[in-house]
């Protein structure tokens, strides 16, 4: 029996839940496997064999309340790792895995290269207390990473990095890229004629030039596979990035910034050609 725990009932999580149900029913008819019963966000049932925790909050609850394997989905890699670290201090042995929300660095770099071949310098802004593992850069690209130093305003750091970058790549850092800040960041980058590359469709909608991301449905399919594999051999796969991804482009922003950007299919083809295997 699989239990689904949602962080909340916002649209992405609902989409995930629906998609997961759909995916599971599709696969189960093919394999004639046991039908998992899905319940929302209720704890304390010992008959549960696997918990699918959607979001950081749900993962935290699942870790605390269930003594069964947990598959955390739609969590940022940094957030998951931090949680895991904290949790493992208390409970040593625990079957836990994850499907991250964010994209792997390589894919992102490949995407930027495919989408904006002329923009070589990629700016990354991060908050002081986080550490990022800088990726290996493809040819013709350079990284310009800066942290917001203490005593410095976000604006000053932003301005600084925008001065010396061709694009600004958003990191899943909620201290910088918060709902409150995003508008001003977008405004600032727009003023500096530096396009912003987001990490979800929301960024594209808000004014980012483009974004590479995985939709809840894509993650749900991946999760369904993991569940089926768990049902067969009682093992969870290793934590992994989403396998499928989508590309969002804000053509209006491109027009405003006078940037020529290829349609998503072309970009995907270029990425595939460059060697990033994706479905």
């Amino acid at each position: 029996m699989v239990r689904l725990v949602l962080s909340d009932s916002t649209a992405p999580y609902q989409q995930f839940s629906t998609a997961l149900n759909k995916a599971l029913s599709a696969t189960s008819t093919a394999n004639k496997a046991t039908l998992p019963i899905l319940e929302l966000h209720t704890g304390g049932d010992k008959k549960t064999n696997l918990v699918i925790a959607v979001g950081i909050k749900a993962t935290e609850i699942a870790l605390a309340d269930f003594d069964v394997p947990v598959l955390s989905v739609m969590v940022p890699k940094a957030g998951y790792e931090a949680l895991l670290e904290k949790h493992l201090l208390r409970k040593k042995s625990k079957t836990i895995s994850a499907i991250y929300l964010d994209q792997p660095w390589n894919r992102q770099m490949s995407f930027i290269q495919a989408a904006l071949p002329k923009h070589g310098i990629i700016g990354i802004l991060y908050s002081p207390n986080t550490h990022i593992v800088l990726p290996r850069l493809p040819q013709g690209m350079s990284l310009n990473a800066k942290s917001v130093r203490s005593g410095e305003t976000l604006f000053a750091a932003l301005e600084n990095i925008l001065e010396s970058s061709d694009v600004l790549l958003v990191t899943p850092d909620s201290e910088i890229y918060s709902s409150s800040n995003l508008r001003n960041i977008l405004l600032t980058s727009y003023r500096k004629k530096v396009p912003l590359i987001g990490i979800s469709q929301a960024y594209v909608n808000a004014g980012a030039l483009c974004a590479i991301f995985s939709t809840p449905e894509q993650i749900a399919w991946q999760a369904a596979e993991a569940i089926i594999s768990f049902a067969q051999n009682r093992q969870l796969p290793e934590p992994q990035y989403p396998a499928s991804f989508s590309i969002g482009i804000n053509q209006q922003v491109a027009n405003s910034l006078e940037i020529e950007i290829a349609p998503p299919e072309i970009i995907r083809q270029r990425m595939e050609k460059a060697g990033e295997g994706a479905r």
Binding site: L101, F155, P172, Y177, S179, S180, N184, T188, I199, A202
Partner: protein, 676 residues
């Protein structure tokens, strides 16, 4: 109770509710309007700070002072904005424009947050430098007390960054304000607007009320004018002008009915009055007829009296003169005695006749008092002289105490009164008694007392003594009868009573049987004066005094009378006095004598003569003949008519009423012949 006119009442009835309504509506709408204006002000302020907050978000984020300055200047350009400022999260001013009434600083904002209820509500117990905002769209309005100026209002709005939903799987972060904006908006224009609105409303209301008042005034005229007409009409009717009518043409039904009623009533009244007047006139006419009849009968009575007196006196007068002549001629004592008796009878008859005529005349109102000033003492002394002899005959002491002075009265009437009183006193006083006539002033009256110690009058008789023909019976006082010959007629006191009433005087009687009687004639003292000379009274004085001194011997006389008996008796009496007498029975005979050259010292003529002539014609003829020498004349008449008396007096002659006593005639003749 205080009274009001209809117009005032109508005005009050219509005006007061209207006034109250107008005031209430005005208050209501004013309140609404003021509230609206206040709301407008708040809305405007909220909108402005909201806008400014949104506008300065990026400026604050980017710390772009230029941008913020533009934003605050933009806000300042809005109407009524006094000052605008943008604060950073530490409540420090990033940018400000305009002039705030109080310096904006963190302390002020802190204080405001502490005391501002709205902020408490929003911020809860946890207080930060900037108010913690849950309701991002709310502006905070500072209390005027905190900002130190009630003429302006302060708006505070946190700068909340616009939120973009990011499904990055991270935790929901708390929204933190980037800073805040403060705007001060002046209320002065609003206050001005309010007061202008107040004044406008007030003047419009006043205008409205004035128009209403004027309309009421006009409307009330249609009621008041007819009523004023009624009022004046009623007043006129009250004054007796019954031909007054009021107009029935009025638009008000009740008033029309009232007018109709009033007119009908007036018509009825008019008819009633006409009817009444007719009846009164009728009654008056009847009365006038009765009065005329009475006057006619009174006139005929007077005429009868005059005629009767004239005709009765003529023979009596003649008889008196004959008896005087006879007295001279008779020789023997027995004859003398007889003649005496006849004389007394005639005298008695004469007095009775005189008394009866007097009463008749008095009753008929034929006697009119001739008021003139006369010497009271003279009258009294004359009376004393006249009665002294009579008193002496009865051996009665007659004492007269006159008061020297003059009274305004008819002396003849007063004399008649006193003659009667004194005569009665002597008559009813026994031989050897005493009669006192005294005059004195007492209690505002001039009192003439006639007192005797005679038989007196019993109390029951006292009420009767003034009646006609009442006499005190000798038996009633139980004494011997008084001298039978002197018995009165019983008319004296009734004449006295009538005369006293005629003159307006009073008479009092005090008496006890056996103790004598006192009659008091009371004349109001204002008629009395101590000093006044009167020619006529002096003349009379002298005439009375000289009676006995002169003699008539040798005097030439003319006697004229149409009654032959009178003529002959008078002539014979005068001849016996030693006079040379010519006589004529008519005016023609007088003319004849005059033409024969006859001259006379004195003329005695009857007033009424034959052929329509009278005594006056005789006298004038004589005087003409005597070359206008003022020959003394005496006119004699049995006629008591006032016209005759006046005609004689007007010519300055002396008139004697028939019957004339020989003695009186003689004394008058002597007076006229010898005035000194």
């Amino acid at each position: 109770m205080k009274q009001y006119s209809i117009r005032q009442q109508v005005a009050a009835i219509t005006f007061i509710p209207l006034f109250i309504m107008a005031i209430c509506m005005e208050i209501f709408f004013m309140q609404e309007r003021i509230r609206d204006m206040d709301n407008d002000l708040l809305k405007q302020g909220e909108l402005l700070v909201h806008h400014l907050a949104a506008n300065s978000e990026y400026g604050v984020f980017s710390n772009n002072h230029q941008m913020l300055l533009q934003a605050v200047n933009g806000a300042l350009q809005q109407q009524d904005v006094r000052g605008a400022a943008v604060l950073n999260p530490a409540s420090e001013i990033l940018s400000s424009a305009g002039r705030f009434s109080v310096l904006v600083n963190a302390e002020l904002i802190d204080k405001s947050f502490v005391e501002n209820e709205i902020v408490e509500m929003i911020g809860g117990s946890e207080r930060q430098t900037l108010a913690q905002i849950n309701k991002t769209d709310d502006a905070i309005i500072f209390k005027p007390a905190l900002t130190g100026d009630s003429k302006s209002v302060w708006f505070y709005h946190a700068i909340i960054p616009a939120q973009i939903v990011l499904d990055n799987g991270g935790e929901k972060e708390a929204i933190k304000p980037l800073g805040a904006v403060i705007v001060e908006i002046s209320k002065s224009r609003f206050e001005e607007n309010k007061s202008r609105m107040l004044w406008t409303t007030l003047s419009v209301t006043a205008l409205f009320l004035t128009i209403v008042f004027y309309a009421v005034y006009l409307a009330s005229r249609s009621i008041i004018n007819p009523i004023s007409d009624f009022s004046s009409a009623v007043q006129k009717i009250g004054e007796g002008r019954l031909d007054t009518r009021v107009s029935e043409a009025t638009s008000i039904r009740e008033l029309s009915t009232l007018a109709q009623g009033l007119n009908e009533t007036t018509i009825n009244l008019q008819q009633e009055r006409a009817n009444l007047e007719y009846r009164i006139e009728k009654a008056t006419r009847a009365l006038r007829e009765k009065k005329d009849e009475a006057e006619r009968s009174s006139e005929s009575k007077s005429h009868f009296l005059a005629v009767a007196s004239h005709d009765l006196r003529q023979p009596l007068h003649a008889a008196g003169l004959y008896i005087a002549e006879l007295q001279r001629r008779v020789q023997s004592d027995e004859q003398h005695h007889l003649v005496d008796r006849i004389e007394r009878c005639i005298e008695s008859l004469s007095s009775l006749l005189n008394a009866l005529f007097d009463i008749s005349k008095l009753d008929a109102g034929a006697v009119i008092p001739q008021i003139q000033s006369c010497n009271l003492a003279t009258i009294m002394e004359c009376l004393a002289a006249d009665f002294q002899m009579l008193a002496g005959q009865k051996d009665i002491r007659l004492v007269v105490r006159p008061l020297y002075g003059y009274i305004a009265t008819d002396s003849q009437l007063v004399e008649r009164i006193l003659v009667n009183l004194i005569g009665n006193a002597i008559r009813y006083t026994q031989r050897g008694g005493c009669v006192l006539v005294a005059c004195r002033k007492r209690n505002g009256y001039l009192c003439i007392e006639v007192r005797d110690n005679g038989i007196g009058i019993s109390e029951t008789d006292q009420k009767k003594v003034f009646r006609e023909f009442f006499q005190i019976a000798p038996e009633s006082h139980g004494q011997n009868p008084v001298d039978g010959v002197n018995k009165g007629l019983g008319l004296g006191l009734s004449i006295v009573d009538r005369l006293v009433k005629l003159l307006g005087y009073h008479i009092e009687l005090r008496s006890k049987p056996g103790n004598g009687s006192t009659f008091t004639l009371k004349i109001p003292v204002e008629n009395y004066a101590e000093h006044q000379t009167d020619v006529q009274s002096k003349l009379e004085d002298k005439a009375e005094y000289r009676v006995k001194k002169a003699s008539l011997v040798g005097t030439r006389l003319l006697v004229v009378d149409d009654d032959v008996a009178v003529l002959s008796s008078t002539s014979s009496f005068l001849r016996s006095c030693g006079c040379a007498v010519d006589f004529a029975s008519s005016f023609s005979q007088v003319e004849q004598l005059l033409s024969e050259g006859a001259e006379w010292d004195l003329v005695i003529s009857d007033y009424h003569l034959e052929d329509g002539k009278n005594g006056l014609d005789v006298i004038s003829a004589v005087r003409r003949h005597h070359n206008n020498r003022p020959t003394p004349c005496i006119l004699v008449s049995g006629d008591t008519k006032q016209s005759v008396v006046e005609a004689v007096k007007a010519n300055g002659y002396t008139l004697l009423q028939k019957p004339v006593k020989p003695g009186k005639l003689k004394s008058l003749m002597m007076h006229l012949l010898d005035p000194l």
